[in-house]
């Protein structure tokens, strides 16, 4: 029996919202790795989600790296200690940062509660995520060709007082000279709002 007193069973919890954000990042990052040619296309396999076909890496090292990173991020999203996640693409030879994808986090709703929930329909959130993923796929039209060997890394920008877990180190921000930025659509669970921005070298 659901009265106004009880939360509906379909309400999204803080933990659930963090999971939704991490799921998006998993698909988004894999999509970027494929689109930008960072790994051989044969090493990707297609998966269906959000009503789209997304190419996901089958490389175990990448899968493990992303899984550990996103698991840690999930905790920080619940604690509200993360501001930004950055996917940094670097030229292996020159160590120059070629491109950077910023995933900005904003916290919404009543923060002064231990029981934050959202009644926003999951379907609507997934549609919003679908729209961003489509934009990421279309970005290949304007992003410069990365014709050098590149590697990627993930940086997480947190609030000052966060304890650094053992597998992490502090890093310098990955700034790009003569940069151009494109802001994609954002999506929101009403608990977490995520903005996606790509920054790349302006070759003009």
């Amino acid at each position: 029996m659901t009265t106004a007193a009880q939360k509906s069973k379909s309400a999204i919890t803080l933990k659930g919202s963090a999971q939704i954000v991490c799921d998006y990042l998993n698909y988004g990052i894999n999509s970027i790795l494929f689109q930008r040619g960072l790994y051989p296309p044969e090493s990707f396999k297609s998966e269906e989600n959000y009503g789209l076909t997304i190419l996901m890496s089958t490389d175990n090292k990448i899968k493990e790296f992303l899984s550990t990173t996103l698991e840690q991020l999930k905790g920080w999203l619940v604690d509200r200690s993360v501001n930004k996640v950055a996917l940094v693409i670097t030229n292996v030879k020159t160590l120059e940062v070629m491109e950077r994808w910023d995933f900005l986090v904003e916290y919404e709703g009543d923060s002064k509660t231990e029981d934050q929930t959202s009644e926003k329909p999951l379907k609507q959130i997934k549609n919003e995520i679908r729209d961003v993923l489509k934009q990421i796929a279309c970005s290949v039209a304007y992003l410069p060709l990365l014709d050098c060997l590149c590697s990627f890394d993930i940086q997480i920008y947190t609030k000052k007082d966060v304890d650094l877990p053992s597998e992490w180190t502090e890093a310098e921000p990955a700034n790009i000279k003569d940069a151009q930025s494109v802001r994609m659509r954002s999506f929101s669970t009403n608990i977490h709002k995520m903005d996606t921005v790509v920054t790349y070298k302006n070759y003009n």
């Binding site: 029996m1 009265t3 106004a4 007193a5 803080l14 509660t113 231990e114």
Partner: protein, 358 residues
């Protein structure tokens, strides 16, 4: 002629009069910690047990009966007979149970509700003996002191009312919290009431003043977990929510903060052991774990996992040996964390002279 040390193998040249197994026994470190079972000794189904941090839906009486608020109903479960009885059903007025608390002698149970009224039931005759109106929002916290029931509400008030009818004592209104009151505990000597709120404050009240006599503002999140030490007079422990995650200890005799330990996750409940200098804490995201700590060293004695939702509800058994925990996964789990038996059980050592014939 080199006298190289001989390995403790069964060598005929061994210089030691002791056998290999005896040598190994003497070399092994003395195990100081007791063994706490990592699995609950009982799991009960608790359908409709809500996943709401601000509620206190489980309590265990001195008569060994568990009271649990499930949705609109309160159920009583006898730990001796395993018999279940439904005490009340609030669904007729669309109301939901938000707190339960047994009186000290265990024959009365107070039930706090979402709409704000509190009913008191005599379980010996299964009858409602009082209905206390006054709060204008849900009552998530209750605490008994003799016949006086203190209730904490989302309306930010703590009301202290005598449950005897007719009552000789008029109601006391404790004003102080700026947000929902979610924790309420009386000191063992029944002189001081500690209250915690969503405003991150921990207050201590006495029987003479309507204002707090002590205010602690160190927590950075809601304070629901509160427990007075049964051994050290004036020692109070409190736990903070998601943004805080710390257990803090206070000397309320001097008003000074003492130890503080960052547990890494939202602290939902705290309870001290009656038999030893230990305490148990229950937590939310991400591990939903139950931790047992030694005091004052604050070393972790055990970590118990199993609940798939935040461990929001905790009660101590009347004999002090077990705890029951409840969560939104709709289960109640019973754990033997403070078993007394460990100290009586002597480990039969082969080195013990009088336990066997040589």
């Amino acid at each position: 002629n080199d006298r190289t040390p001989v390995k403790s193998q069964n060598s005929p040249y061994s210089l030691s009069p002791l056998s290999t197994s005896s040598q190994r026994l003497l070399r092994s470190p003395h195990k100081a910690t007791r063994k706490i079972s990592r699995i609950p000794f009982k799991v009960l189904d608790a359908p409709e047990l809500q996943d709401d941090f601000y509620l206190n839906l489980v309590d265990w009486s001195v008569q060994n009966v568990l009271s649990v608020g499930l949705g609109s109903c309160v159920y009583l479960w006898s730990a001796c007979t395993s018999q279940v009885t439904r005490l009340c059903d609030l669904s007729t007025d669309g109301n939901v149970v938000t707190s339960v608390a047994w009186s000290e002698r265990g024959h009365l149970v107070a039930v706090g509700t979402h709409s704000g009224y509190v009913t008191v039931w005599d379980v010996t005759v299964n009858k409602q003996v009082n209905k206390l109106q006054g709060h204008t929002a849900r009552v998530g916290a209750l605490a008994w002191n003799g016949d006086v029931l203190s209730s904490g509400s989302r309306d930010r008030l703590i009301l202290q009312r005598d449950t005897r009818t007719p009552s000789n004592v008029s109601e006391r209104r404790l004003v102080g919290h700026r947000q929902e009151v979610c924790g309420l505990k009386w000191s063992p000597d029944n002189q001081y009431l500690a209250s915690g709120g969503n405003d991150n404050r921990l207050y201590v009240w006495n029987m003479q003043s309507l204002s707090p006599v002590q205010t602690y503002t160190d927590h950075m999140a809601a304070v629901k977990a509160i427990a007075w030490s049964p051994h050290h007079h004036g020692l109070l422990a409190s736990g903070g929510g998601t943004a805080d995650r710390c257990i803090r200890f206070w000397n309320t005799l001097t008003g000074q903060p003492m130890q503080c330990v960052d547990t890494g996750s939202q602290v939902c409940n705290l309870a001290w052991s009656k038999h030893s200098s230990e305490l148990v804490s229950t937590h939310g995201y991400s591990q939903n774990q139950i931790l047992v700590w030694k005091y004052p060293s604050l070393t972790q004695v055990a970590k118990l996992t199993g609940h798939s939702y935040r461990v929001l509800y905790l009660a101590l058994s009347p004999d002090g040996e077990a705890i029951v925990t409840g969560a939104g996964d709709e289960t109640l789990r019973f754990w033997n964390v403070f078993s007394k038996a460990r100290s009586q059980k002597e480990i039969r050592s082969v080195l013990s002279l009088y336990t066997g014939i040589r």
